[in-house]
Symmetry: C2
Subunit: 333 residues, 2 copies
DNA sequence: TTACCAAATGGTATGGGTACCATAGCGTTT
DNA sequence: AAACGCTATGGTACCCATACCATTTGGTAA
């Protein structure tokens, strides 16, 4: 490998002078600068960011720890993160936890060793300890998507309660009285907040909350499929179903399709999270769209700001509004 | 920050002894080991991977440079990469080039500085120089998805020619004689190879190749949409269309839908790349499915092997077969 | 008892780059 | 001519962990 010393020897100067040229700091005469730059070009010298990182105590690397990039929602968040960080010459290390505490722990340790300058974390449920540990190590941290009660931490998330309220309100105004919700895991804030918004809308419409119509489960398709089948088997099935995320919505629609029920003629449906616009020929599902790209982008900008100014103003919680996108998946009753 | 010296002081030993405990190397008495481990726990010591990397000349980080994670094909590749590398305690830095040479150059430089142990690269078209530069810096490299003539380099890709042949063959056997292909950019190997497979199938069926039915363009939806519209405006439009990738297929289907043409009654269509199974309620498009996850996984394993054994056996080219998935988007003629 | 060896531990240099301080040349001010 | 300050450059120590060599202790073989 070519080092700064090789370049220095070739240019006939001291290593520190090469360093000055590279970083454009301090005094270097035009003649020397040229000689050094020639030497750099001739030797194809590439500065070693490890030793710079060691010296400066700064790596310009941040970690993005989320459940699964395969979900287009997270993909989009990841893209926002990448764009925001590359603007400031930061690199992103991507890690998938699959909602598994062990994986999250493993990655946290690995990333701390790597001296990442900051964490963007979508915490696995009930892992406040991880957050505390990162904070205690003095590494900047922004929590994404989920609210973590019990710790003071910067957070960027979407307004699950509000979005769910709007969606449900839309259904009640169409005349629906029996509305089911297929939410996510009970220990994830986004799940409970979506149920809370749903309940508030029902109350607003003076409808009773029927616990049979509320369910929690995983955020994956199978769960949407199975729970929809159960709903259809009820003595009095709902006239509308609210899917707690995009995957649940897919499972739900599959179940309806297989049961021979048409949307919206036989069942009105709405969902949280849009599916990526590129992927459907004809999007028809009415949804509360979360600004995924913006979420990634803003969380990253906030993180980089925290890294740049480690002085501790109070932690922020940025709640981004969702957007009600009305399409053709609901009918009036 | 807590360093190995702090731990050593606390445990009353020399730093090197702590190092031995951490890495489980050399002789350490049971008593000392315990004292050191206690000190580590008490101080929440986390070893600094930067200095280890500097010392060992190894970072356990690889780079994944692709065009855009937002495309589900690449998302899946990325997931394969992440899984394969985390198995061996490697981390992945993800970069999107958007097929832009300047971005690729910028990232290459940045990643070389960061002393990544290897590159997984989906090269922007006509950028052999980038590949040469990385190789010349002595960093392991595996090219993904695309064939780069003119350099000797490890490559993992899918069999575009073969997949295109199968798809086209399927259409000719259904009786189609006027088959159009909407390929990707002319300077990307996957595009030309798909056209080549298409042509071979036509020749096999003793059909003439009509250059009016062959087009190159971007891999994005708009391009698929526009070129489909042009095809429909021909005096003698095709009876079947072959979309060169998943996004082109979406654009194509949108154009057909807006033109009031039904699939497969009025137009038979096939595509390269499947859409992620999770994202469609009812997949109906007949496709040549590329093993995206496996591609990422195997390319990563190959890269890690190269990193572990820098001895240079001849470069490999691994060509993964595509899988013809027949659904309901074509009719016999 | 001496010689020798394994076990246990530590001192110092090293990896690549830079902060800090030192030095020297040269022009300007008084 | 002395004093000062700016420009230009270099020496040394340090960031953190570890390779290498050295040293000490205790035990076993001759």
């Amino acid at each position: 490998m070519t080092t700064i010393r090789d370049v220095a020897r070739r240019a006939g100067v001291a290593p520190i002078t090469v360093s000055r040229v590279i970083n454009d700091s301090g005094y270097v005469s035009e003649k020397t600068r040229q000689r050094v730059e020639e030497a750099i070009a001739e030797l194809n010298y590439v500065p070693n960011a490890l030793s710079q990182g060691l010296r400066f105590n700064k790596t310009n690397v941040i970690a993005l720890v989320l459940s699964d990039v395969t979900n287009p929602f997270w993909t989009t968040v990841a893209r926002g993160t990448e764009d925001a960080s590359s603007e400031e010459n930061y690199s992103v290390i991507l890690c998938n936890t699959d909602e598994d505490v062990a994986k999250q722990d493993k990655y946290t340790d690995l990333l701390l060793r790597r001296q990442v300058d900051g964490f963007l974390l979508v915490p696995v449920s009930n892992t406040i300890d991880t957050i505390r540990f990162i904070q205690q190590q003095g590494v900047s941290l922004v929590v994404l998507d989920r609210q973590m009660p019990g710790v003071s931490v910067d957070t960027v998330r979407a307004d699950s309660e509000g979005g769910a309220y709007e969606l449900t309100r839309y259904l009640t105004e169409l005349g629906h009285r029996d509305i089911a919700i297929l939410s996510g895991p009970e220990d994830v804030s986004t799940s409970t907040q979506r149920v809370a918004g749903y309940q508030r809308a029902l109350q607003h419409a003076h409808l009773e909350v029927d616990s049979e119509l509320i369910s929690f489960g995983s955020f994956y398709q199978d769960s949407g499929y199975e729970r929809t089948m159960k709903l259809l088997a009820l003595s009095r099935p709902p006239t509308a179903i609210f899917a707690g995320n995009n995957f649940i919505a897919i499972g739900m629609m599959k179940a309806l399709y297989e049961s021979g029920l048409r949307i919206p003629e036989d069942m009105s449906v709405v969902g949280f999270d849009d599916l990526p616009p590129g992927l459907l020929v004809r999007p028809f599902l009415t949804v509360a769209d979360q600004p995924a790209y913006e979420m990634g982008f803003r969380a990253t900008k906030l993180l980089l700001e925290r890294i740049a100014n480690p002085g501790k103003p109070p932690h922020q919680e940025i709640v981004l509004p969702t957007r009600l996108v009305i399409r053709q998946s609901c009918r009036a009753i």
